[in-house]
Assembly symmetry: C2
Homo-oligomer: 229 residues x 2
């Protein structure tokens, strides 16, 4: 196997699966690669980890370059390291996933990307490298975590209606949920603030707005409440 | 930072957290390191990934050298890559955890170990490198997975009583469980075979023996049953 340069003798990269939710669809941020291998193809954003960078620092750098965002949800998912996964040599990659609220967000192509775009997760059919598999693994993790932890709120604007929250769960889990049951579960955990505000700009009767309260969540967990959707 | 040899310019290793359960205690397999750094100290078993090895293959090799076991539960947990985690250079490590039934199991020191022993997880206070943190991360994953998937059975002999199964959950989760509730949950999922055998060698009234049935589990999941303890 030909090695182009020293770093590829054995290197590691990070790849970021950045999920966004757009009222009715789950999206993922993709970049068009500048350089070979796979130049000109769509891929997950990622980069080689610098010698002086912790893994998470590296993932944060990639995320910030593309979105300008710093303090967003970011978690490591899985490390992919098949011997032949990179055509240039042995490169293993550590996948991170992020959840961001995409309303009013500007994205820009970074040093390692020619273009950047949001694409509906369901319509992604091919990606460079083993990135399709990486995306699918991260999607499975997202679905699991969504049921266990209050991470869904990261994908919504700060103020949301219960219908919007339920829609988020339904779209990501790809299953319909019973409205009464869903509301009961969410409200019984006592982790939301009921805002004295109503939804605006809708043609139907405006619904109540809520926000997630991390302090209430912490208290609930300490009392032994189990997060469960 | 001094590099001793080429491979340490940027290398990756696997570390295996091998959990075993011994009727009343959760144990972890530790090795006494042969070589510096940390020569003579207790550590998690692990090794540098060979250029021709997939990550999982490497983790399987380490596990087999120590236990002689091949087809046991093995899952990747997390990759640790702080810049300064290895005194010899940049080495990131991919942690895998295994669950094995330790009754009648012989362990032996491998090429990378001077000694090998089982130690109760709760009594492990120091380990070489960042291995204590790695062990704790894997323990947290074990606790989460135990509630979501039928992995607890991997730690038990093939035939077990419901009391033994409950005890396993209680020891690992460090919480008491209501006997009636536990039995109801387990039996209602319909994933066990009731054996026409009783426990032997006990002074109290012998209890019924059960075994886990992967086929029944698969059927239950297809029917929409949710694994939950």
């Amino acid at each position: 196997m030909p090695f182009q340069n020293e770093i590829y003798k054995s290197a590691f990269s990070v790849d970021n699966i950045i999920f966004g939710f757009d009222s009715d669809t789950l999206k993922v941020l993709l970049i068009k690669r500048k350089e070979d291998p796979y130049g000109g193809q769509w891929a997950l954003p990622g980069d080689i980890v610098k010698p002086t960078e912790d893994l998470r620092t590296s993932a944060k750098r990639v995320l910030e370059e593309l979105t300008g965002l710093r303090d967003v949800y970011l978690d490591q998912v899985f490390t992919f390291g098949k011997v032949d996964r990179h055509p240039r040599g042995r490169v293993i990659t550590i996948a991170y996933y992020s959840l961001i609220n995409i309303s009013n967000l500007k994205i820009k192509a970074a040093s390692f990307a020619e273009k950047v775009m949001w694409k509906e997760v369901r319509s992604v059919e091919t990606l460079a490298f083993d990135h399709l598999k990486i995306m699918e693994t991260c999607l499975a993790r997202l679905r699991q975590d969504l049921k266990l932890r209050p991470i869904g709120f990261e994908l919504l604007p700060e103020k949301f209606t219960l219908t919007e929250l339920q829609r988020l769960y339904e779209v990501i889990l790809e299953q319909d949920l019973d409205k009464r049951n869903f509301r009961k579960k969410i409200l019984n955990m006592n982790i939301l603030n009921t805002l004295h505000e109503l939804q605006t700009g809708v043609s139907h009767r405006p619904a109540k707005l809520y926000s997630f309260d991390p302090e209430k969540y912490k208290e609930a967990m300490e009392k032994g409440v189990i997060f469960e959707i």
